[in-house]
């Protein structure tokens, strides 16, 4: 990659762009299944705008990041290091992990928190081909009755929810859109 793209693609106005991006991410996490627009970053391929924006909004030298599969390229590493300074680590140590669902699995590799500190768990940013309100039926905190979200692997995510209050939390990203699935959500298969 050439030097110019390494330095490009950050927030234009960091405090304001990050504030907008965080509100989208927070609303998504507070309302599981809600799909929100999130933009501001222009990360190198194969990262989506949404995934890149989440990394710039939440990561810094204090957060350990794991890159999975195709996302673990020189271009992405250098871009992430330049813009966030986040150390890159293995899945078992990560605060944030980024990649496609297949590249990030198995889920058992990630930190799920401890009984006294359930917040010390990984947040997975999962790149998806599609993001739509169909498929699995969600209920629980943040959802009035039920919501629908197309999930990559219902069994694995139900297994994560059973660990509550331990477990991982998820952002699903596609283009400039994001949805979230915290561990507190109950997942049912339609039928």
């Amino acid at each position: 990659m050439d030097g110019s793209s390494l330095y490009a693609g950050g927030f234009r106005d960091a405090p304001v762009d990050a504030a907008h991006a965080f509100r989208a991410a927070m609303t998504a996490m507070a309302r599981p299944g809600d799909i929100r627009r999130i933009a501001g970053a222009a990360p190198p391929a194969p990262l989506s705008v949404a995934a890149g924006t989440l990394l710039l909004t939440l990561c810094d030298p204090e957060t350990r990041v794991h890159l999975g599969g195709e996302a673990d390229s020189d271009a992405v590493r250098q871009w992430l290091s330049f813009h966030t300074g986040a150390p890159l680590v293995d899945a078992a140590e990560a605060d944030f992990a980024l990649g496609s669902w297949a590249d990030l699995m198995p889920l058992s590799r990630y930190r799920i928190g401890t009984p006294e500190y359930p917040d010390r768990s990984a947040t997975l940013i999962v790149e998806c081909e599609t993001l739509e309100n169909s498929g699995a039926v969600l209920s629980g905190p943040g959802i009035r009755d039920t919501a629908c979200l197309l999930l990559p692997d219902v069994d694995a995510l139900q297994g994560n929810a059973i660990l509550y209050p331990l477990g991982c939390d998820f952002f699903f990203t596609c283009g400039d859109r994001v949805a979230a699935l915290p561990r507190s959500t109950t997942i049912r298969v339609e039928g």
């Binding site: 990050a18 907008h20 996490m29 905190p141 939390d169 915290p182 507190s184």
Partner: protein
């Protein structure tokens, strides 16, 4: 130096607070530790709430700040001015017009909507703290859902006073898991904790952030034979006549004169303007 970063805090601090808020939303009612910063106001004046608001605000937001329901008290006015200056956000006293509401010890009377965020200032976030002073022990009690002690406390209320006399900071159970201190709101407000808006709680001195997502089940602890009661002064507001709002008792003279007025100043003003 005349300029501040947007919303006062530096970006790395905001990221740290934002990560805590996200984990708080993922585990409703659980207290997430965070590295609270010194703010240009003393502890007890809402440093936790201010930090949460600073991490949440966008330039397009319209901020309302209340102190015990009132928009015009020192604490509310100074925090509103703080964000007018450091974030350049618009402010309002009208509950319906606000997108972010920072509150000290009240939930507004008007029902909040999905587009609003309610930020609480919290003095003591640990509901078990006065029963068990050691943090290591209260952590363990939460992890084991060992909440019997809290019921003993409420039972002692009944045995001494014939009723649950706890009137504010009344403990609740969130999403059937964590017992949470709803901050010192009157127990009259407890039923409103199940709402459409996002609720964020910030305790600056104690360095804790916690959250209740919209429509989350929030149950006030009680007993089958002594059910929870949302109480208020048995009176109507002497200014607007409202019979359903939480009231402040104001002493008028030294001859026993007193009046009851709505604690929510915006609610009271709106009602008086509607009938004027």
């Amino acid at each position: 130096m005349s300029d501040y970063n947007f919303a006062y805090l530096d970006e790395q601090t905001k990221r740290m607070i934002r990560r805590a808020i996200l984990k708080g939303l993922a585990v409703p009612g659980y207290q997430v530790p965070f590295a609270s910063r010194e703010m240009p106001m003393p502890y007890g004046w809402g440093t936790g709430g201010v930090q949460v608001s600073a991490a949440t605000l966008t330039p397009e937001d319209r901020l309302k700040v209340i102190d015990q329901g009132a928009d015009d008290t020192t604490n509310a006015v100074s925090i509103r001015k703080f964000f007018e200056r450091t974030a350049g956000v618009a402010t309002t006293e009208a509950t319906q017009e606000a997108t972010v509401i920072q509150t000290r010890h009240r939930i507004p009377e008007a029902e909040l909507t999905e587009d609003q965020i309610l930020v609480y200032q919290v003095p003591i976030p640990e509901p078990l703290r006065f029963l068990e002073p050691r943090e290591t022990e209260t952590r363990k009690m939460h992890s084991l859902q060992e909440y019997g002690l809290m019921h003993v406390k409420l039972y002692e209320d009944i045995s001494q006073h014939g009723a649950i006399s706890t009137a504010y900071a009344y403990p609740v159970r969130v999403a059937d898991r964590y017992v949470m201190d709803p901050s010192p709101i009157p127990k009259f407000d407890n039923p409103k904790l199940e709402m459409a808006a996002v609720q964020l709680f910030g305790a600056g001195r104690e360095q804790r952030i916690y959250a209740v997502p919209p429509y989350t089940r929030v149950v006030s602890l009680d007993f089958e034979d002594y059910p929870f009661e949302a109480t208020k002064a048995d009176h109507a507001c002497d200014l607007c006549g409202a019979g359903d709002s939480y009231l402040d008792e104001v002493i008028m003279d030294d001859a026993g004169g007193r009046m009851f007025v709505c604690s929510d100043t915006d609610y009271c003003r709106t009602r008086r303007e509607a009938t004027a």
